[in-house]
């Protein structure tokens, strides 16, 4: 079967196809696409509107964490000397305690947020 015969066969097949159902209404398709466009536009607008608020909340969260860390450091510097001596005698470096305290704060915050979001 050569190229022309094949082309003829396929095109006749395509042109002679008859469908029992009419074509779907193009106006309905247009309206559906338009509605989806409007919805997407509205969602984007809302996301943009909420964006500064989300940024502000994130910044406030970081500021609160830094403040808490500084407060912990300040509190640590206020520990009386006998207490520090007791730590050293127990074999625990005061710096280790300070670092653990500083690390514990963001860890606790993270665990709290994860539990709230779950």
């Amino acid at each position: 079967m050569n190229e022309d015969e094949l082309r003829n066969l396929f095109q006749r097949s395509r042109n002679e196809e008859r469908w029992p159902e009419p074509l779907p209404d193009p106006a309905a398709l247009w309206r559906r696409a338009r509605a989806a466009d409007l919805l997407a536009k509205e969602l984007r607008r809302r996301e943009r509107a909420a964006s500064p608020l989300l940024t502000a909340r994130r910044l406030a969260g970081w500021a609160a964490l830094v403040a808490a860390e500084l407060a912990a450091l300040a509190g640590f510097s206020e520990i009386p000397k006998p207490a520090l001596d007791a730590l050293v005698n127990a074999g625990v470096s005061p710096w280790t305690v300070a670092l653990l305290t500083l690390a514990a704060l963001p860890a606790a915050t993270l665990v709290y947020r994860m539990r709230r979001e779950a």
Binding site: R12, S13, E16, L23, P24
Partner: protein, 155 residues
């Protein structure tokens, strides 16, 4: 594209796309759903490429991807087009219908685009998202398989 322009584009292409979806997909019941989804995605894409033929190619590309998604979602290979056409037409058409049903979907896509739609190799490559250089070979093989099936039916 405004609404009257879309309607005119739709009237000019919907029958062609319907035939493509049916002959490649092989299931009449899914044709109109896929047809509507293809035009919906076309409209949402805001495709602004060149002329009418660019739009048609883009539409056929969407339809091809929808067929692939349909087969993947159904987790089965496409059913061959076993349904018989409605109107009583040429005998050759029935032969072609049955022969296409025995081919792989990729062969059906390629043959339909080449011979029913009259697409060039470059256009087929664009629609099916394959390399332009491989279209020639793939089409040659598909044509050989179809010829063998058609010859077999006649003997």
């Amino acid at each position: 594209m405004d609404e009257p322009e879309f309607e005119s584009f739709y009237r000019a292409t919907a029958d062609r796309l319907r035939a493509y979806l049916y002959r490649v997909g092989g299931e009449r019941r899914i044709v109109d759903d896929l047809l509507q989804e293809a035009y919906f995605r076309f409209l949402r894409s805001k495709f602004a490429g060149g002329g009418e033929e660019d739009r048609v190619r883009y539409l056929f590309r969407i339809a091809t991807n929808l067929l692939k998604d349909h087969w993947a979602a159904a987790k089965r290979s496409p059913e061959p087009p076993v349904e018989r056409p409605h109107a009583g037409t040429a005998e050759t058409r029935l032969d072609l219908h049955a022969a296409l049903g025995a081919l792989k979907p990729a062969d059906r896509e390629m043959l339909w685009l080449a011979y029913a739609e009259g697409c060039s190799h470059a256009e087929i490559a664009e629609i099916l998202e394959v390399k332009r250089a491989s279209v020639r070979v793939l089409l040659f093989r598909a044509r050989a398989r179809l010829s063998a099936l058609l010859q077999g039916e006649k003997t």
